[in-house]
């Protein structure tokens, strides 16, 4: 397999100027889309920020060794098949490359005929054209704004999983895992299986969720999630203490984490900790689709914005498809199927397969998708994070980690007239740091909605601009001075980011 990787791996200097399709993201969705497109004979390029294919769930799977199978589970191990299928295909692959912009290309009569995608890798930037683009940029862990969540020693549970998958690092010392979500017990079980000694799992799932989820139990009872969930719960409960109905969670310490505090059974508790791993579910990473101008809507079950896509995964922007957890959380299996469907849709747009063939090939995929989605609604309802964990009550809690903006400041800015996230940005610079709102966007929307007694869908989200990742001076200098390049870069300069960043981006 290593040979396969070497054969088609490309540094960005070696990429062609134009492809039929560029797929961004090498998780199950992007890998499947790229494989499907390459099979249809589309000239396909897959770019991904990581060093190896796999995305979040199958991270580093091509480097995995038999011990990892036991530790990370069969589901992880299965990712090798998806990655190998892709590596055997004729698609080109640019690892360690970030996509930071996408701009439509128009013909003389103003029709969109493709897009130009900005890529950067290893200090170099390029603009590459494609007739179709598929964004499969996945999900990120939902913000978990509790007092002290910025202290060194507090990380996400997903971060610890990444350290385990890529560097075989296991949490050591006094470790506390806290939160909710279908992945919480998976992450806890994987870390315990790898040898972490976890002092406690603090489960923040609200009691009332069980009642709400109950209505959706039939789908869940016939889904594979039931057996899997019970097995994971069993592993975790046997090996550590699980404390339920946790509220008022906080991290404490000077200059770094020392203790975790919480309430349960009407009493306050505290526990010394070297490492606190937080997780309350995953949400679509909408930065790219938002900046590209795709229409988004509020998902009232998953409590997040998600881009609108049609039955072929096409977004509201011509020539731009979106697939996988970036369009709403459906899990890895659904992401892979969606990737295939998006691939068929694009191949048909490119004229490589006839609509009838596309439709025929999609039938079994849609059946599998329906099966893969079974039980999701139950999980969504059961693991919906409690309001106090989404809309922090304590006014000193930091919401925007980059600019260090607190709950109190945001509430005050709303009372001073900031009606939505974009006005609030002007008041406070909240969301204007290098993470570009990824770690505060949803909290800000819900916080403003709460303060104004409105629905989050009326409040909206940050309006984002390219580049969605800060570029380095030398990357900018390497770009050809085309109109789109200038627009991509200058549009963002108008929106004064972090002073540090601004310095970085100023063209010479």
């Amino acid at each position: 397999m290593t040979e396969g990787i070497l054969r088609r791996e490309r540094g960005i200097a070696d990429l062609a100027d134009e492809y039929d399709v560029i797929v961004v993201g090498a998780g199950p969705a992007g890998l499947s889309a790229a494989t499907t497109l390459a099979e249809a004979k589309a000239r396909t390029l897959l770019v991904d920020e990581n060093q190896t294919p796999g995305g979040q769930i199958y991270r580093a799977v091509t480097l995995a060794q038999p011990v990892d199978r036991q530790r990370l589970g069969e589901e992880y191990w299965r990712g090798r098949i998806i990655a190998e299928d892709f590596l055997r295909s004729a698609a080109e692959y640019a690892p360690a490359a970030s996509a930071w912009s996408i701009q439509p290309l128009q013909n003389e009569v103003g029709r969109t005929i493709g897009h130009e995608v900005g890529l950067s890798s290893n200090g170099m930037a390029r603009l590459i054209r494609a007739r179709q683009v598929v964004l499969a940029t996945g999900a990120l862990e939902r913000p978990f704004p509790i007092p002290g969540w910025t202290l060194p020693g507090v990380m996400t549970a997903g971060a610890a999983q990444i350290a385990l998958k890529t560097s075989t690092l296991v949490p050591s010392g006094k470790v506390v895992i806290a939160g909710t979500g279908p992945l919480l017990y998976l992450l806890a079980a994987q870390l315990i299986e790898a040898g972490a000694t976890v002092s406690a799992v603090l489960d923040t799932t609200p009691r009332e969720n069980w009642l709400r989820a109950f209505r959706h139990a039939p789908g869940f009872l016939v889904s594979p999630y039931l057996a899997k969930g019970l097995r994971l719960l069993g592993t975790v409960q046997r090996r550590t203490r699980v404390i339920r109905w946790v509220s008022a969670l906080a991290a404490e310490g000077e200059g770094g984490l020392r203790e975790v505090t919480w309430r349960t059974d009407g009493r306050e508790h505290r526990m010394p900790a070297d490492l606190l791993l937080l997780h309350q579910g995953v949400v679509p990473n909408v930065n790219f689709s938002n900046a590209a101008g795709c229409a988004h809507e509020w998902d009232k079950t998953q409590l997040t914005f998600r881009p609108r896509v049609d039955e072929w995964s096409a977004s509201s922007v011509v020539g731009l498809s979106l697939a996988g957890d970036g369009t709403g959380i459906g899990g890895a299996e659904a992401a892979a199927i969606q990737g295939r469907i998006a691939g068929l849709g694009c191949a048909s747009q490119l004229g490589l397969i006839a609509p009838a063939e596309r439709d025929r090939s999609a039938v079994p995929l849609r059946n599998s998708l329906a099966r893969a989605m079974r039980g999701r609604r139950f999980l969504d309802e059961l693991y919906r994070p409690g309001k106090a964990f989404r809309v922090p009550q304590d006014s000193d809690t930091i919401v925007c980690r980059c600019e260090e903006i607190s709950v109190g400041q945001i509430r005050a800015s709303v009372n001073a007239g900031a009606g939505g996230p974009n006005q609030m940005k002007v008041f406070l610079r909240c969301g204007m740091g290098p993470c570009q709102g990824r770690l505060c966007g949803l909290t800000v929307t819900e916080l403003i909605a709460d303060e104004r007694s409105r629905h989050p869908s009326e409040i909206g989200y940050y309006r984002l601009r390219f580049p969605i990742k800060p570029l380095k001076l030398r990357e900018l200098a390497a770009l050809p001075q085309t109109e789109t390049a200038k627009v991509a870069v200058l549009a963002d300069l108008a929106d004064t980011h972090h002073s540090a960043d601004l310095n970085e981006r100023k063209p010479q």
């Binding site: 480097l63 011990v67 060194p152 507090v154 990380m155 990444i162 350290a163 560097s167 690092l169 540090a500």
Partner: protein
């Protein structure tokens, strides 16, 4: 905070963090290598000077920013550590002057 399992064979790489030598495994990200070496905080914030360390390890939070071979604002979790690499903690807001000349 983290310890390394010894069941994956991998060669060693040596780099420096704030001038001190650190040994990592080939293929580690800079952020993972620092965590393995017991470094919790790798930067201070430009606003209050508070210490911060890697939070997401997947490129979204920008808490892992460090200076690598003289270049500021590098996301440690996305850069693979190399032999002889010079990594420094990032103090507050770096200036343009620290960007190496072209």
């Amino acid at each position: 905070m983290f310890r390394r399992l010894s069941d994956h064979a991998s060669s060693e790489v040596t780099f420096t963090f704030d001038g001190l030598p650190v040994t990592a495994s080939a293929g580690d990200s800079v952020a993972a290598a620092l965590l393995a070496a017991g470094v919790r905080a790798c930067r201070t914030t430009p606003v209050s000077g508070a210490p911060r360390g890697p939070y997401c390890m997947m490129g979204v939070c920008f808490e892992c920013l460090v200076r690598i071979d003289g270049m500021d604002n590098c996301q440690g979790c996305l850069v693979t550590v190399q032999e002889g690499m010079k990594v420094e903690s990032q103090r507050g807001s770096p200036t343009l002057a620290t960007e190496p000349a072209q």
